[in-house]
Amino acid sequence: MPSHDGSSLLEARGLYHRFGRARVLHGLDLTLAPGEALAVTGPNGAGKTTLLRILAGLMRPSAGEVRVMGRPLARGDHQARRDIGLLTHQSLLYDDLTLLENLTFAARLYQLDRPGEAARAALERAGLWERADELPRRLSRGLLQRAAIARALLHTPKVLLLDEPFTALDAPAAARLRSELQSGLAQGSGLVLVTHHLAEAWALASRVAVLVGGRWVVDEPRTGSIEAFLPRYPGLIGA
């Protein structure tokens, strides 16, 4: 477990979480270095989404601590959140605002210079500029996912937390997302990618972790091919 020497983008120590009597996380540790991409997989109910929400600061763990760039993700410290980008199963977009209005508002929340231009650039990167005036509720599932990704990446966060980012994306959009994430990793950002479809994230990942019952059963560098890893997976999750 590395110390808080400033080299980690994200560091979690001893994360425990319970919902009522149900224990969801059991003392998880996690570190993420610049340029590192951690692919997290595991069966349903393993605690992956809870882990992601705690790492994003949306939930407080029952015990344990999360640090972003060495700063504790404490309730009053809003600046630590500036470096986090989160993609969830929900788009986080307002149905009564157009895509451009949604992203411009998000850019204002992150106090970006020229929010309108930042929003436009994000929509262009996502291939959505021609749909800038459309309302989210009128978009297909795939287009909505692209808009949600554009919102998550808008402020070029150092730590990206993505829950099933490739869901509903067509092949060109998935390739564009991979390329954008790779470019971010090359510039020193870090990525935690939660997925049930490891094959989609394999090329991006530098580490692979498997979460079962709120505990890591594997956390290792990604080596070899996905074909070599997949036969191990049922044994790891006890299937």
């Binding site: 600061g57 809003h78 929900q90 209005e101 204002r108 929340l109």
Partner: protein, 226 residues
């Protein structure tokens, strides 16, 4: 401080823009206010109670009920697509988030009140023209207080299964002091009483505003952060 104010204004502008596009809450509250006035108008017996006796209570019951509808939308808009997560993820001080929501809610409730006043004069035959500045002042004083409390309760209620029911249950007891004060001042205004007879109530309303706007601003983080 300046950036927090800018953030608050951005949040308020977002809410107002979204509401102007959908018009759902504003129109519902306006129609509801008109219906309440119609019901009160036909339910009273003019031979027993003069309009001037009943008017202040009717006005403030209408304002309170219509405000409740408008306040319900404050955080239901954040529930769709988990937009509230987007707000909470951003580096926005929770005080700025509360102030933004408060400003937007004041704009909605203020609009409903502004439209309700002429309808009220129409149904009850009460002339407000001479006392309009006083009516506007007492409306502003009372509205700020209960909208501040309504904003924080709306944030609490939206996480429950029955948000639309929870808000009135939580809010109505806290609305009692400003409503009593507002009814008292309004009846004195309509009766042409001197300002000195209203000062005590006006002080109560101002104190309520100061205490609850401060308390709600400080307590908001504890309500929205899990």
């Amino acid at each position: 401080m300046l950036s927090a104010l800018r953030l608050a204004l951005a949040i308020a502008a977002k809410d107002i823009r979204a509401e102007l596009r959908s018009k759902t809450a504003l129109l519902s509250a306006l129609v509801f206010a008109a219906l309440v006035l119609v019901v009160f108008n036909f339910a009273r017996d003019p031979t027993i109670l003069s309009p001037a006796d009943l008017a202040p209570s009717v006005l403030w019951v209408t304002f309170a009920l219509a405000a409740m509808l408008a306040l319900n939308r404050a955080f239901t808009i954040e529930r769709e697509n988990a937009a509230l997560d987007g707000l909470l993820l951003a580096p926005v001080p929770r005080e700025a988030l509360f102030l933004g929501k408060l400003v937007a809610n004041l704009a909605f409730v203020g609009t409903v009140e502004l439209v309700t006043l002429p309808l009220f004069t129409l149904f009850f035959g009460v002339s407000l023209w001479e006392v309009l500045p006083g009516i506007i002042a007492v409306t502003a004083l009372a509205t700020i207080g209960f909208v501040a409390v309504g904003t924080i309760f709306s944030a609490m209620a939206v996480r429950t299964r029955f948000a639309e029911l929870m808000l009135p249950v939580l809010l109505l007891p806290f609305m009692v002091p400003p409503l009593i004060g507002a009814v008292q001042v309004t009846s004195r205004l309509l009766a042409g009483r001197p300002l000195s007879e209203m000062l005590g109530w006006l002080r109560l309303l101002a104190l309520y505003d100061i205490v609850f706007v401060t308390l709600c601003t400080l307590a908001f983080a504890a309500v929205v952060d899990e």
